[in-house]
Amino acid sequence: MTATDAAESGRRWGVSSEADDRRLWGRPAKDRRPLMGRLTSERRLVAQACEGSEEALEQLFRTHWPQAYRSAYLIARDASAAEDIAQEAFLSAVRALDRFDRRRPFGPWLSRIVVNRAIDFARARAIRSEIALEGLGEPAADERIEPVVSDELHRAILGLELEQRTCVVLRYLLDWTPGEIAELLGIPRGTVNSRLRRALDRLAQLLEEGGG
């Protein structure tokens, strides 16, 4: 019997000890500075990043990563795709730093890239699912697919239709106004409002069904 055989059939070893149970999520305190102060600070960070400051870039990255990733994740419904989409958006931002209009806020500019790419991804996958299932005689898959997600709220949002969850992300995560959402999506403002209303109703229903 080799060492491997012995081990795989059950040999004992070692000293037991336990690691401290630690919280996984260490979030910084919410930035409560006035909006103008934040914008001025952000412009300075963009300018410094443009001049080569890694610290400034890191601050921008860590400030905007949660919204970028979450937006992509909730719209695309895929963690790997969300990572790629958010990462690509930051890489695009780095490449475009020289041309960036510093009078504009950085966050919405980044969000616009993320949201557009996430919508493209979700649509492309829905089409691919339809093609893949055509020969099998099954219904189009996109809206029946439910990812395995531990967070109840996220799971409920992922259960919404693409149009609804996009509006929810833009309005309640990214804080865009209905007018701005309408402009980005190329739809009337009234449609945005009705999608938001239906989405909130559906969310309440899904959370109730899920025991929330």
């Binding site: 070692g14 690691a19 401290d20 979030r27 990563w65 790997s80 990572e83 990462q87």
Partner: protein, 396 residues
């Protein structure tokens, strides 16, 4: 639900894998930013892209392996290889795969038949393929390839990156930001370092382990990256540290030992480094043209290292074989290559091409390519989001 409450909850709750994705992405963004000041103009980039394409085509046509590959390249219209097999009916190179998918890990046999192991997150083979170590929510478990559980031990947090030592007597894993090692029979475990980076640890292969012990019993040398970005080599049984690098600013993305254990490869966003078993830096090779590294895999025999790098400006991924500073591109395509694994004999490579939803079996020596399409659907039970599966191990 009130909109105010919804706002608060959305802002406060991290999404799945958000933090790990942030750290991986920061390294990539940081390196891209550092290179920016030396970046060529957009016009020269376009010229360079045209040049690369031309050189690559010439290379494919002229090289012996390229003769076979070029036929495939000509047939690529959308991402992916045309005439791909619609289902997985054979593993070129034999052996068995462990595949992480959204429903859990699967075992795929050489004839393409597959079995879902259970409600776990990820799997890794034991050295002889008798068991798989699997990560459950807050526990590490060992199961047989048919899914029968053997043992389970609790962990302080979600378990990530389990890695079975070549001797089969230890299993290393990450949990709650710490590196721990469990016995191969699941009886005991202990924490080796409480603050490590989210990079899979790497056991030195058995020949070097045995040599390092100075006796008939193999040592258990384990390389890992600590939370400051330093690479450390420790003897896992005694906890004795053999060597450590200074914190590396470009934190390594992956670690891989060469087959003999004489060389520890570090994949960085901007290149590949190698250290000797004694901690001496042997090589430092940077990727050209601003490409960014993402995945590597050391051949089970010989010095070859398969590396995936990606040029974000051209949205093109490259699979290359490296032997020290010498590098040869084997395959390239639009979008993302998300993984590469060697067959047990080292004859074939399995390239995971997410944007094409394909797996490619590539034989580097001859340039043979066999593609299988609709991979995500083949690991989908119909109820969960299929996503794109990840090959977690190719075993004997």
């Amino acid at each position: 639900m009130r909109s105010r409450e919804l706002r608060r909850m959305l802002r406060e709750r991290p999404a799945e894998r958000e933090l790990a994705a942030r750290e991986r992405s920061w390294e990539v963004v940081r390196v891209s930013h550092a290179r920016r000041s030396h970046a060529p103009s957009r016009r020269s980039l376009r010229l360079a892209a045209a040049g690369i394409a031309a050189v690559a085509l010439i290379g494919l046509v002229l090289s012996p392996a390229g003769g076979a590959v070029r036929d495939w390249v000509g047939e690529v219209v959308e991402p992916g290889v045309e005439r791909a097999a619609p289902s997985l009916t054979e593993l070129r190179g034999g052996g068995r795969l462990a595949v992480d998918a959204s429903d859990g890990p699967w075992v795929v046999e050489a004839d393409g038949s597959k079995r879902l192991l259970g409600d776990y997150e990820t799997a890794t083979w034991s050295p002889r393929g008798l068991y798989l170590a699997v990560a459950a929510d807050r526990s590490l478990a060992a199961v047989e390839p048919d899914g029968d559980p053997r043992w389970t031990i609790p962990a302080p947090g979600p378990v990530k990156s389990p890695r079975w030592a070549p001797t089969g007597i230890r299993v290393a894993y990450l949990s709650a930001g710490a590196l721990a090692v469990a016995a191969g029979d699941g009886t005991t475990d202990r924490v080796l370092d409480e603050r490590v980076a989210s990079v899979a640890p790497a056991w030195a292969p058995e020949p070097e382990n045995t040599a390092a012990s100075g006796g008939p019993t193999p040592a258990h040398l384990l390389a890992y990256v600590d939370s400051d970005g330093a690479v450390r080599l420790i003897e896992a049984d005694s906890g004795e540290e053999r060597w450590a690098t200074a914190p590396i600013r470009d934190r390594p993305l992956e670690l891989a030992w060469s087959a003999t254990g004489r060389k520890l490869h570090l994949l960085m966003a901007d290149g590949v480094r190698a250290y000797s078993i004694n901690g001496r830096e042997l090589e430092r090779n940077e990727f050209s043209n601003g490409a960014l590294g993402s995945v590597m895999s050391a051949a089970p025999a010989g010095p070859a290292l398969a590396v995936i790098r990606r040029d974000p400006r051209l949205n093109t991924s490259y699979l290359s074989i490296r032997r020290g500073a010498a590098e040869r591109d084997v395959f390239s395509g639009p979008g993302r290559f998300t993984g590469v694994s060697w067959s047990p004999t080292g004859e074939w490579l399995l390239l995971e091409w997410r944007d094409a939803d394909q797996w490619l079996f590539i034989r580097p020596a001859t340039g043979q390519v066999r593609a299988v399409s609709r991979i995500s659907r083949q690991f989908d039970l119909g109820e969960a989001d299929p996503g794109f599966p990840r090959v977690a191990g190719w075993c004997c």
